[in-house]
Symmetry: C2
Subunit: 331 residues, 2 copies
Amino acid sequence: MGKAQLLVEVTRDNRVESRHMGHAVVVGRGGTVQRAWGDPAAVIYPRSSCKMVQALPLIESGAADAAGLEQRHLALACASHNGAAIHTDLVTEWLGGLDLGEDDLRCGPQEPADIPARDDLIRSGGTPCQIHNNCSGKHSGFLTLNRHMGAGPDYEKPDHPVQLAVREAFEDVTGEDSPGYGIDGCSAPNFATSLTGLGRAMAFFADAHNHTGVRAHAAARLVEAMHTHPDLVAGEGRACTTLMRAMNGVAIKTGAEAVFVGILPELGLGIALKIEDGGTRAAECAIAAILADLGVLDGNGTAARHYLDAPLLNRRGLDCGRVQAAPGFPG
Amino acid sequence: MGKAQLLVEVTRDNRVESRHMGHAVVVGRGGTVQRAWGDPAAVIYPRSSCKMVQALPLIESGAADAAGLEQRHLALACASHNGAAIHTDLVTEWLGGLDLGEDDLRCGPQEPADIPARDDLIRSGGTPCQIHNNCSGKHSGFLTLNRHMGAGPDYEKPDHPVQLAVREAFEDVTGEDSPGYGIDGCSAPNFATSLTGLGRAMAFFADAHNHTGVRAHAAARLVEAMHTHPDLVAGEGRACTTLMRAMNGVAIKTGAEAVFVGILPELGLGIALKIEDGGTRAAECAIAAILADLGVLDGNGTAARHYLDAPLLNRRGLDCGRVQAAPGFPG
């Protein structure tokens, strides 16, 4: 990995307290790198930022249409959701429509990030289940594809037909052979790529509506599903949801360890960034800064300010400092 | 701030996924820097890592003894606790003994980090209060000192006699005039210092038992209180508690934004470190690595391995990677 660039600073009483270095790239039509910070050749795990890539075979195979999936299901297939009722009710209904249940999932249980849902669960004496897992929409997509393929139940294994189809799509849209995979938080393989590869994939999604072909058509449907249902892609208070609501037709997606991507159909641009240390607050600030710099996010709007100039409020609500783009970034 | 050094790496499937840079220093008797990584002159906020310094005036003034405080109260005054019953019961009793209550605190409410305490609170329909705040022991110490001083109720204000006494002690043991303060998560001022200054303060605490004088005596009592009550200083599952239990007579303390300090009385050494990006997982790994390197922590013991070679377990319990000291660190 080449040298990272200072992207985000955390200040307290106007003194820098912490710093976040990272890599970022903006890729245009045809896969051309238009702007880069840090090392665009850095090899990263996209983590959940590539869920729209992992959902391509679900549509391309015809599985989504055969199962009668609607746009909201496609949005949820791309989601790292909060486990709120709007997410878990839809996953439950989706699995029921396949005659499947919670124990067919392989993503593992996770406590909901949504506080009302978490508190309801605790009050009712329940325990978190796999449907609460932020990846349960993606896994419902895998199960739908698997039903269509007629393959075995171990759909999360790297050599299973579902994951082989994901890998083929991933390598195609990144334009690179993946150097390998890591096992993700939800147990599915997560394929490594260069940051430029991830940006190239996002540029493919951004320009997909201008192209014909099964893959481009699937990509365009997923982009539309994401920006049409920002509440399903993450949840209340989350950066993906808040920032997508503040933009028109732009899809963005976070990934664990501080990855963030953007798909800008009007400009035909893809964005990919990785904060080297895995700090989510910095990834959120950096993506907002790039989106504002490119003019698709109003940098003076409430949503943008929350991430571009994030106040550090203490436990009495006092304003103690800021998370902000570093001087000179985006430029 | 000078250049940070790579201290900790996060790997997934043997590929580096994230990296943490930082600064660290080991200071010996008399304030001599014995080892340094990154920039020992880096100016930092110690945050909660300096709670034992903030507790010095409580003892030096005679307030602690006048209020009949025991060793467990002193440990809690140095704590960033989990809000478990062992912590909140003692704070409640402490405040009651002063004829004070929760609304005299100025630290703000915080949800307990202790899961059983959190779940009990939610089940009972309660809401987090200031006693649950991880700093409520420190603030009970401030209130005890304030009662002794007979000053006004705004004990958390930077110009209040309580905080002026803290500043005097802080600048004395760090051996530096503080360049200023930031407001901490608990609303008290947190004085900035160089990393070397913080290490020098820890070396003072480490060697205090060999010295006479009110300040040295107070420091030695606090060190003994901390390592005698590791469960009060943090809580079950926390690095401070787990690692102190695995050592003899060593006190360690975490601070927000990835500060960690160590006090090693037998060796007469103080340790201070700051991960530049504020990532706690890296601070925990780095302090364990230095403690093991100095021979006070058994690097092959269960407690140490958990931080030196921290497994990344996913939501199905699968081992997906590691948080480890970077090659060449500590050296």
